[in-house]
Symmetry: none
């Protein structure tokens, strides 16, 4: 996601072997900068996120921004990582219990978890997606890949589904759900409270599985799941 990357000099304050009080201070500054960037991005879009504006909102000087981030791009990059990590964390938390459940129960939970993860910061998510260049493999794709992997794994794990290409199906499902969620969050945020959405998404997934996998065979897939 970070296009330009001119190596400036040898300064590498990345590792955590700096002194402690200073580190605490630094961490706060970094945090302030990231938060400020996120807020501006959410509220006013990429064009408004100038280094000056970010520094001002973070309550620091432009110079400080460059103390911790090599460039504006790098900063946004870091923010994207942070955002994806947060989403991933939310999603991960819902994973443990999924394995033990039958598909018919697991999928709805997965949807709930996906919705939750997409709620972390929808506006930022949207803006970050806008910033994704065409060709670059964006950091944000990582999340979708993660969701795809989880879905695929779920499909594979549960013995009652028998798909030709679980990877493809998992990927498509992740894309479909992500498409619904991102649009919904941006355009129809009020629908998020509606439990119908969760059900609809679960049906979307289960419906596809029912048509793809062996689940079609026999009425009683329920038992297995």
């Amino acid at each position: 996601m970070s296009p330009h990357n001119r190596a400036h000099n040898a300064g590498e304050e990345r590792s955590s072997d700096r002194r402690k009080p200073v580190q605490a201070r630094s961490k706060a500054t970094v945090e302030a900068i990231l938060t400020a960037t996120a807020q501006i991005l959410e509220r006013s879009g990429p064009e408004a996120a100038t280094t000056k504006a970010i520094a001002a909102r973070a309550g620091v000087s432009v110079g400080s921004l460059y103390q911790y981030f090599g460039s504006r791009d790098e900063l946004i990059d870091a923010l994207a990582h942070r955002h994806v990590d947060a989403m991933r964390k939310v999603l991960s938390e819902a994973l443990a219990e999924l394995i033990s459940l039958p598909l018919e129960a697991a999928i709805p939970r997965l949807m709930t978890a996906l919705i939750a993860s997409h709620r972390v910061n929808p506006r930022l998510d949207h803006v970050l997606h806008q910033l994704t260049p065409i060709s670059d493999t964006a950091i944000l794709d990582d999340f979708q890949d993660f969701a795809a992997t989880i879905t695929t794994t779920a499909l594979r794990t549960h013995p009652d589904t028998d798909l030709d290409d679980p990877e493809l199906v998992g990927s498509i499902l992740a894309q479909a759900v992500s498409g619904v969620l991102r649009t919904t969050l941006r355009r129809f945020p009020e629908r998020l409270g509606d439990p119908a959405l969760e059900r609809l998404l679960a049906d979307l997934v289960l419906g596809l599985l029912g048509r793809q996998g062996s689940a079609t065979r026999g009425a009683g897939s329920t038992t297995a799941l």
Copy 2:
């Protein structure tokens, strides 16, 4: 998305004197500018689409650009409209025959049509999505609304589905399919040729319908739901 709206070709052809060639020339110039913009956008992204670059590629002067478009934003706006129109047109062409088909046949066709419409200019599509300002209800959403309406209509028209909220279902389906297609076009363009994708999408839709609408007919899907 665009404020200015000067009526350019408001003058009618009350007399077919030399006004015509002039208008023809204007139209050609507008066309050239739009095309140039689209090409630069596709190939090099939003940052490369400066007014200077656009004018150069269109073979006109910057001044001329401002003769026909009030601002750069307006120009891009116009291009977005043009793009959406093209996509809509492709989709529309597939509509007529849908009505007369049963759902199981109509949906696959609809998917084919949707894929086709998304293929009109995927790179431009992506870039235009990037350019959409945060607050504005994007022009590009129009296409999704259109797709949603079509789907909803299809669901309503076909007597064999009985949904509680066809609008919601249509909308969600449009979002899901759009999500899949846009991601696929950007990240896995090679999948577009794969007929498996079409089938998968059709199954996605029909699967949801099978679980939502025609629950009555199914063997025991009710249980599961």
Copy 3:
């Protein structure tokens, strides 16, 4: 002479196809910019020659500066070329008559011409020399090479000198004279009027020749020269 050249983005007009001053207006602008640059450089040194300061003094906007010069470095480069050309022109004018003269008369004239050429713009000359990076073959060196060539040619042409390595001698002489002139112009400008300087320089050159070439042989080198 232009060291740093960071490629910023995909803008294709690097420095190759910058507008060449074709029109009268353009030419005047270019002239104003070059003159302004020279003035600032002369009076306040390289650090003062910011793009803003140059534009202001030239009575144009920064943008105009970049219309004609790809970068600040390129501008200074152009100025250096112009300066060297001017110096070279002054020197060249004195050349024609040199050939027909005996060495003893030619060298003083050459010195006069060199002094004249160094007087074109001593302060600018000094600043431009300061700007010369260590390794780069600077444009200003061209002038010294020119002077060296002329001297060498003079030595070769005149039949009464017989040097082992006329090139080396010519080069050293050019450097010596240039060293004297540049220092004198910077530190003791009042000496320039003094005809003693010219004589001294001529003696410097002739003295070396007298010790190097065959002129040493026989006391009467005067005749030949």
Copy 4:
């Protein structure tokens, strides 16, 4: 060369109490900083010599740098002094023996000494010349003045020359030699080893003297010199 001139080490060791070890450490730090500056300047030029880079290479903090030098300019100023001192020292060492020699022998030795002094640190020398502000009488000029004085003294001392204006001649000769050496060091460093250079320079000087001073005494000036 530098504006700020706060007396930093104005405190002399009036009392040799515990100040000493501290002073020793200070001296080492100052040395480290100066050396670091010199190295960066030599290798990467003026633009690379940022306070941060200097401090890093010296193994101290930026703050410490300001402990010992009032500003970056002052630091460079100090370095220039140190450099000139070093050059002067090398030149001085060759002086003692000069007096007792006849001119014809003394001058070549002087040339050798001058070459040696210019070899102390040619790259640093060049960069320091670049850094010399326009208006200031540069510290580096001190060296040339020193060389001029020495030459003048030599001319005066030796009874066999009889110049009208030994000061002028000495100055011009110093300038000429310096011009040759500095250019040679920058552009033709390989010539430095060549003994021809030394001979040429000696001939340059002796040639001028032969034409100026003893010109009265007919052709046989050689003997005297």
